[in-house]
Symmetry: C2
Subunit: 170 residues, 2 copies
DNA sequence: ATAAATAGTTATACTTTTGTAACCATTTTT
DNA sequence: AAAAATGGTTACAAAAGTATAACTATTTAT
């Protein structure tokens, strides 16, 4: 029985992983299209810049490489997107006192404010859709999306290839 | 008390919608990057073609416009992506007997098979990450992602602008 | 029957993102 | 001190996706 329960456990696990991936793959284009489109129409920022801004709201500071890692974005592209955000005073660079090669980025108060405005604006359409859901469904979606978000954020989608090494252990 | 409870209800609702959007916006780049990168490296298909293929696994048939609607993809782009899938024998066109302007697309058995292979392959990295999660977390993610997926799929991310009208009522 | 609307394609210009390699500055290794 | 590794930038080529308009074929409305 021990053995048996172990096997089913493991089986379940595999099934679980596949179904998770299945779900995530389905979720992705739905979100991708909604937000990307809105971003294009309602802001001057590239989708990429906005992702950078977004990830910076979750961390006090990130180095250029870490940003690229969190978003699996090539380093040269990170440079470009951060440059744009700096022009807009939404983020700022500062050297790492311990290692002067490292350039850290943090979001500015203006960045936080702007990001909130942008979020409001790009999510207008989706808000209208969500308003049509009944309370129970909405609540379910709220809890479920929070869980997905939190779990995914603990997973580093790192890549070691594109341009030098990427995320190290957190 | 009735009134009060109504107000809090409504407040909660607004808070819920905002937090849902917040979560979805956070989830999006995480998935986007993971899958997009893998798609690029492990298949010959564009990400776009794969999204089309994916959405076709969920519906028996879809017209060109409906595909564009489900994915919020401009119609000319849908044409391109479907063309590529047809060359690979992964989907097929057939006229709608009731209205010969409409071209319906359905996935072929080969398409289903290939899509499964591709899914396996593009999700390898993510599978390794997910394997590191403990069972409880994985189970939570499985349930939560399923809920998010199912709810989002009931919401049409339609757009009426790009190229003529889009999704009509389901 | 004619005009207007709809579904889809073609063509084209454009933006965003990716991939690669060369390069500088700094740190680590030896 | 010299060599190797690391973090970041620059520059350029290529892929993917977006926007728009013009066009054909079919259907619907008048």
């Amino acid at each position: 029985m021990n053995n048996y329960s172990f096997i089913t456990m493991s089986e379940n696990n595999i099934i679980s992983i596949d179904s998770v991936i299945e779900n995530l793959i389905s979720i992705h284009p739905l979100l991708s299209k909604t937000f990307t489109r809105s971003i294009r129409h309602k802001t001057n920022l590239n989708p990429g810049s906005l992702y950078v801004l977004g990830v910076l709201t979750h961390y006090e500071k990130l180095s250029m490489s870490e940003i690229g890692c969190k978003l699996a974005m090539p380093k040269p592209h990170v440079t470009n997107q951060v440059d744009k955000l700096i022009v807009e005073n939404m983020v700022e660079r500062f050297f790492d006192p311990a290692d002067r090669r490292i350039i850290n980025i943090r979001i500015t108060p203006k960045g936080i404010e702007d990001f909130n405005d942008i979020k409001q604006s790009i999510s207008e359409e989706m808000r209208h859709k969500l308003e049509l859901l009944d309370n129970e469904t909405l609540e379910k979606l709220s809890v479920a999306s929070l869980q997905v978000k939190e779990i995914l954020m603990t997973i580093d989608m790192d890549r070691t290839k594109t341009s030098g090494t990427c995320c190290k252990s957190e």
